[in-house]
Symmetry: C2
């Protein structure tokens, strides 16, 4: 288990934060540190995916469509915990860029079926490569020994809180 320094703090652009700043109880509260960890990790993944002209949000959306061919927009919005109205511009953008296609279905003409196009698959492949590099960095920080348990706890928090 690698030693955690806990002394040098870094802002999101990597600049050192004056050591004299006291964080008080924020220091040892899970909620605050969960937020900091997520923000920094998200920022890092954002940078990576921007290099290939995508965003973390698009990645999750594309993956969900690819893994659930024919999923409807309402199902999709539930799957990533957003309101269906928030999804409209996202799907619109993916369709406009030719990464996703929408088909009306016969049985229920209110509903669309979403599918990833070949171009979408290509974009997803590149995004997945990005994500794998990102994961390798995270794995290096977490350590092989603790990774599984860490992941379990994250899932548990999302599933059980409130």
């Amino acid at each position: 288990m690698r030693k955690v320094s806990g002394r040098v703090r870094r802002g999101k652009n990597g600049e050192a934060i004056a050591e004299s700043i006291r964080f008080g109880p924020l220091e040892y509260w899970v909620g605050f540190n969960l937020r900091m960890a997520q923000e920094h990790a998200f920022e890092a993944f954002s940078r990576r995916s921007q290099e290939i002209g995508e965003s973390p949000g698009r990645f999750a959306t594309l993956t969900l469509i690819a893994r659930n061919p024919g999923i409807s927009q309402t199902e999709l919005s539930h799957a990533n915990g957003r309101d269906k109205s928030s999804l409209t511009p996202v799907v619109e953008d993916l369709v406009r860029r030719g990464l996703v296609e929408r088909k009306r279905i016969r049985e229920d003409r209110r509903t669309y079926r979403l599918n990833v196009t070949p171009a979408g698959k290509k974009a997803l492949t590149m995004l997945t490569r990005c994500a794998r590099r990102h994961e390798r960095v995270l794995d290096g920080i977490i350590g092989q020994r603790d990774r599984k348990r860490f992941l379990q706890i994250l899932k548990k928090i999302a599933a059980e809180i409130e």
Copy 2:
């Protein structure tokens, strides 16, 4: 160590998500699960603090000012990793509501010194109570045995990534 079910997924409003939705690689990626955990935990804390008319962001800001009396706005913005311009409306709001006071200093009349007022201390006390309740819930989910290690890893991610 409590068993992690990992089967039932819940959206942010606690509704069950159709088990048939496949999450593919998102399922076992730390980045995605970190985001989900943070979103759910943040949401829960938001609800708690809204009950007393505050927000998670105000909480961090107030704590930092209280723990670093006389801190400047620029130092404060570095401490929580935001641009100083993002802080202006936040500090303005805290001052307007009488929770924080600003004083020009003699040595450098460009700079303000920020301090928490008695009313601010009262608000902070209530917010801290909120946060403690929230932490207890998180502790219950994480388990006493893993808590320390989990916290170390979160700190390590924030400090070391990119």
